[in-house]
Amino acid sequence: MAKYLLLKHYRGAPAAVNDVPMDRWTPEEISAHMQYMQDFADRLEKTGEFVEGSALAPEGAWVRYDGEGRPPVTDGPFAETKDLIAGWMIIDVDGYDRAVELAGELSAAPGAGGKPIHEWLEVRPFLSAPPTVTE
C-alpha cells in the first residue's frame, strides 16, 4: 500500500502527442474530457484506490515573509513560471506498477478530435511513515 500523487500540468510537462489547447476543442470534446476524468475518479473509488483529487486555477500569486510586523509580500503571477500545475489526484495502490498503470489510463483522456491526449502526467510517491521492522 502506497500513496502516489498524479500531477497534471498546464505548463512544464513535455509536449503531449495530441497537443491542442483546450480552447480549440469543440464544447462536446471538452464535455467528453470532463466526463472521462469523473468516470476515472468514480472507478478508482469503486476499486478502493481513490484518496482525493482537485483542480487548480491557472492564476496564482507568489507570497513571502517580509519581516517582523510587516504584511507578507505578494507578487506575480509571473508569465515566465515554467511549471504550472493544473490539478492532482492522490491514489492509494499496492505499488508503483499500479500507479503507472493508472496514470497511463488518465493520460488517455480524450482531447481534440475525440482522440486521447497522451499527455505526460507526473507520478510522485508520498514519503510515508517509517516501517516498524528496520533490520
Binding site: M1, K46, G48, V51, D92, L127, P130, T134, E135
Partner: protein, 381 residues
C-alpha cells in the same frame, strides 16, 4: 466495556454464522452490526455469555437483511427454511477466517483491510483512518474483497504463509490513526498462534514483540528517528522482550526454521545486548546467512552488509556492498554509514545527502539530511 475482548470474539461469531449457512459477505455485515450494537448496549448491561449474545444478535441481523433481500426478490419461502438459532457449536472457525481473509486471490491491501474487519472486528471507519484514505474508498475496498472471496469454500485448507504476510504488513505499515496497527497485529498474531501450532506463527509473534519492545525509544519527542545504537536501552520493554525470546526459543527448538524465526533471532540478539557495543554481530551475520538462504531477498543482503561492517569492520562491509546493485532501496544510506565508520567523512557526507534525496520516508529523509549536515559542519571547521 473491554473493546479488545469484544473484538476478539469477532472471528468465532462470524464462523458460527457461516457454518449455519450464511454467505460470508452477508454474515460479515451482520457481525459488524452486532458489534456496533454491543458497543451501544453492553456498557449498561454486559451479557453473561458475550459470544452467545453476539451470535444471537448477528444471526437476527442476518435474517432481517436476508428477508428484506428475499422479499425484494419474492423468494421469502427460502428464508423460512433457515435453521433456527441453536446453541453455539464448540468448533472454532477462527483459523478458517484468517485463511479466507488472506486468500491468494486478494491483493495485499484488500487482504489487510478484510482481515482487520472480519477477523479484527475493526469498523470500516477505523481502518480507513488507520490507512489515511476516505471511508468510502475503504468501504469499497472491503466489499470488493468480499466479492472476490465469495466463491471460496469455507473449509478449503489455507496457507499459513499468506496469513503471516498479511499480519506482517499490518505490523510493518507504520501508519498511525486512532488504531494502533502494530498492537492490533500483535493481537491478531497471538490469536492465530492460539488457533494453530506452527513455528513460523510463533516466529512472527516473537519478531513483533521484540520490535514492539523498542518502539518507545525509536523516535525522539520531536518525532525524529533514533538509530538502534543510540536508543535508550533502559526504556526497552523487558516484559515484551522476555516473552518474545521465550516464544522464539520454543519455536527454534522444533528445528523447522523459517524466515520469521530467523528475523526474530536477529531482533533477539539486538534486544539481548546491554549496550550497542556489546552486540554479537558475528552471530547476527550468521543469522543473515540463514535468512538469505530462506528468502533470497536483496534487502536481506543489504542488511547483511551492515552487519558484516560491524562484525569485520567497515571495509569488509563496503566490499559486501559492492557486490549488490546500487538501485536497492537504502543502498546509498548504507554506503554513507560504512564510509563514515571508515573515516572517509567527505564521501559519507555526500552519500548521506544523496541518500536523503532517495529516502522513502519522511523520518529517514530528515535523519539522513541531519547526518549529512553534521558531517559537513564538522568538515568546515
Amino acid at each position: 466495556m473491554n473493546e479488545a475482548l469484544l473484538r476478539s470474539l469477532t472471528p468465532s461469531v462470524l464462523g458460527v454464522l457461516v457454518r449455519r449457512g450464511a454467505d460470508f459477505a452477508a454474515a460479515e455485515d451482520a457481525v459488524q452490526d452486532a458489534l456496533v450494537e454491543a458497543v451501544r448496549v453492553w456498557p449498561d448491561e454486559q451479557p453473561r455469555d458475550p459470544k452467545g449474545w453476539l451470535v444471537t444478535v448477528a444471526w437476527r441481523r442476518f435474517l432481517d437483511a436476508t428477508r428484506a433481500e428475499a422479499a425484494r426478490r419474492r423468494r421469502e419461502d427460502l428464508v423460512d427454511e433457515e435453521p433456527a438459532p441453536g446453541p453455539v457449536p464448540a468448533a472454532d472457525d477462527t483459523l478458517q477466517l484468517y485463511f479466507l481473509c488472506a486468500h491468494p486471490s486478494l491483493t495485499p491491501s484488500s487482504a489487510v483491510a478484510l482481515t482487520l474487519r472480519a477477523v479484527g472486528g475493526l469498523t470500516t471507519r477505523q481502518i480507513a483512518r488507520a490507512y489515511l484514505v476516505p471511508e468510502a474508498t475503504m468501504a469499497q475496498r472491503i466489499s470488493r474483497a468480499k466479492r472476490t472471496v465469495s466463491g471460496v469454500p469455507f473449509d478449503q485448507p489455507g496457507d499459513v504463509a499468506t496469513v503471516l504476510r498479511v499480519l506482517y504488513l499490518v505490523f510493518n505499515e507504520g501508519y498511525s490513526g486512532d488504531v494502533d496497527l502494530a498492537a492490533e497485529a500483535i493481537r491478531l498474531t497471538r490469536q492465530l498462534a492460539a488457533a494453530i501450532d506452527h513455528p513460523e506463527v510463533a516466529g512472527l509473534l516473537a519478531l513483533m514483540l521484540l520490535h514492539h519492545a523498542r518502539r518507545a525509544t525509536r523516535t525522539a519527542p520531536d518525532g525524529s528517528l533514533v538509530p538502534l545504537a543510540e536508543q535508550d536501552r533502559g526504556r526497552w520493554d523487558t516484559g515484551a522482550i522476555t516473552e518474545g525470546v521465550g516464544i522464539l526459543q520454543a519455536a527454534l527448538a522444533r528445528d523447522r526454521l523459517g524466515e520469521f524465526q530467523a528475523q526474530a533471532a536477529i531482533a533477539a540478539l539486538h534486544a539481548d545486548a546491554p549496550t550497542a557495543e556489546e552486540t554479537d554481530w558475528v552471530q547476527i551475520v550468521e543469522w543473515y546467512d540463514e535468512l538469505a538462504g530462506l528468502t533470497d531477498s536483496p534487502v536481506v543482503r543489504l542488511n547483511r552488509a551492515v552487519a558484516v561492517g560491524e562484525a569485520d569492520g567497515p571495509r569488509a562491509g563496503l566490499a559486501e556492498l559492492a557486490a549488490l546493485s546500487d538501485t536497492l532501496p537504502r543502498h546509498t544510506a548504507v554506503a554513507a554509514y560504512l564510509h563514515e565508520r571508515d573515516g572517509d567523512l567527505p564521501t559519507a557526507a555526500r552519500l548521506y545527502a544523496e541518500a536523503a534525496h532517495k529516502a522513502p520516508t519522511l523520518a529517514e529523509r530528515d535523519h539522513l539530511t541531519r547526518r549529512a549536515a553534521r558531517l559537513n559542519a564538522g568538515l568546515r571547521r
